[in-house]
């Protein structure tokens, strides 16, 4: 496999040709906020946190779904990108009801962390305050739509690692939401194996263990990357 040479923020970097800009940036120690990316899952460019500027292309590209190319000049931290990232995070907070103080994931939440990373001290957009349901029909887990950012990590982990594909997305735009099976209560799902991988993958307090209260939802995401690595490369290394 051939190597590509590119620059990230002016610094020369080499990467394998099958790597993405995000892979190359991380290898080079460049920190970029992400939300929908999870090691071990296919990237889909849903959250727009990793948008980068590439010389010669007049739109912004998601680093997680853009392959490296020879001679590419990538910038990850410009004024424009910082501005858009903060807008994106604020819009995520405005779209549903993220009440950090009352959330199972408070202090362990990737959305909260990204808010800090982009310097969000308040949300400039009007909160939508939509009415959303909480599904508590499963015997072990709960799903709170109020906290969901539609990163679809649950959808992908269930499909790609567990192989059950219980989760999917219904609707479009602001009405989109994740569902179990054919939009039936989670507790009635026939495909769910109750493995809990979606709980582990969820970046916020949207999917949680029943009985968790405020600040109690702490997750170990490295197990998912371990499973993926074990399956793909037959390497059982923690």
């Amino acid at each position: 496999m051939s190597a590509k040479t590119l620059t990230i923020n002016g610094k020369p970097v080499s990467a394998r040709e099958d790597e993405t800009i995000l892979d190359a940036a991380r290898d080079a120690g460049v920190v970029m906020p992400t939300l929908c990316h999870l090691d071990g899952l296919t990237d889909i460019g849903a959250c727009r946190m990793c948008l980068v500027e590439v010389t010669g292309i007049n739109k912004l590209l998601p680093a997680c779904t853009t392959r490296v190319a020879e001679g590419m000049e990538v910038r990850t931290d410009t004024e424009q990108l910082r501005k858009y990232r903060r807008m994106t995070v604020e819009l995520l907070f405005a779209e549903r009801n993220h009440v950090c103080a009352g959330c199972v994931a408070n202090n362990h939440c990737e959305l909260q962390d990204v808010g800090i990373a982009v310097g969000m001290d308040h949300v400039r957009y009007d909160y939508l305050f939509p009415k959303h349901d909480v599904d508590l029909t499963h015997t072990q887990f709960g799903m709170d739509q109020n906290r969901c950012i539609l990163c679809q990590r649950c959808v992908r982990v269930c499909d790609e690692i567990e192989g059950a594909h219980t989760w999917d997305v219904l609707g479009r735009g602001v009405k989109a939401r994740v569902i179990t099976d054919l939009n039936q209560p989670w507790g009635e799902s026939l495909s769910c194996t109750s493995c809990g991988k979606c709980v582990m993958a969820c970046p916020t307090g949207a999917i949680f263990k029943l009985g968790s209260t405020v600040e109690e939802s702490v997750k170990d995401r490295s197990k998912l990357a371990f499973l993926k690595n074990a399956r793909d490369k037959k390497q059982w290394v923690m």
Partner: protein, 181 residues
């Protein structure tokens, strides 16, 4: 140097941010040399005064009194700070918004839960009527400074106040200063 004219206000919140302010403990003593508290739930002044340098507003705008007072505060204050998550985001106070108008929560609290003579306290002049939708402060009037946290820790409050009394622009950067919840 004359003292900063300083106010704190308790809107639609739980008073937890004020409790956290009192958690400044012994630093309140040197602070008292630098500021003059001209209005606050912990001092006995009924009217919001004129020419206030800094006002910390705890709580969201949730009822008619809040709505009237916040405009007076804005007119009379140089630096208006949203103090805590309810002021910044509407937070727990705003959790009634997705349910519809205020009737839903009033029914729940005063009718559904009461066995004996359920009634909503709506006599004029007793308690202010709830407004249709709880709003963060900056949705009603311009805000100069945001201090997130539920409540903001005493450490965070002190870091902000130290910058204010030093006459510096307040920098809110990093987890210590910005984490909500």
């Amino acid at each position: 140097m004359s003292k900063l004219r300083f106010a704190t206000v308790w809107m639609g919140g739980c008073s937890g941010c004020h409790m956290s302010f009192l958690d400044l403990d012994e630093w309140l003593i040197p602070l008292a040399d630098l500021i003059e508290v001209v209005y606050s739930p912990i001092v006995d002044i009924k009217q919001f005064p004129a020419n206030v340098d800094v006002t910390l507003v705890e709580g969201a705008i949730a009822n008619r009194d809040n709505l009237e007072l916040i405009h007076i505060i804005r007119r009379n204050t140089k630096v208006l700070a949203s103090f805590g998550d309810c002021a910044v985001t509407s937070n727990v106070t705003g959790m009634r918004n997705p349910l519809g108008g205020p009737e839903v929560v009033l029914d729940r609290a005063y009718r559904d839960a009461q066995l004996l003579r359920p009634q909503i306290p709506d006599d004029e002049g007793i308690v202010p009527p709830l407004i249709a939708r709880v709003a963060p402060v900056h949705a009603i009037v311009p805000v100069d400074l945001y201090i997130p946290g539920c409540p903001p820790s005493a450490k965070r409050i002190r870091a902000v106040l130290e910058q204010i009394v030093a006459g510096k622009p307040v920098e809110m950067i990093g987890r210590e200063m910005l984490k909500f919840g």
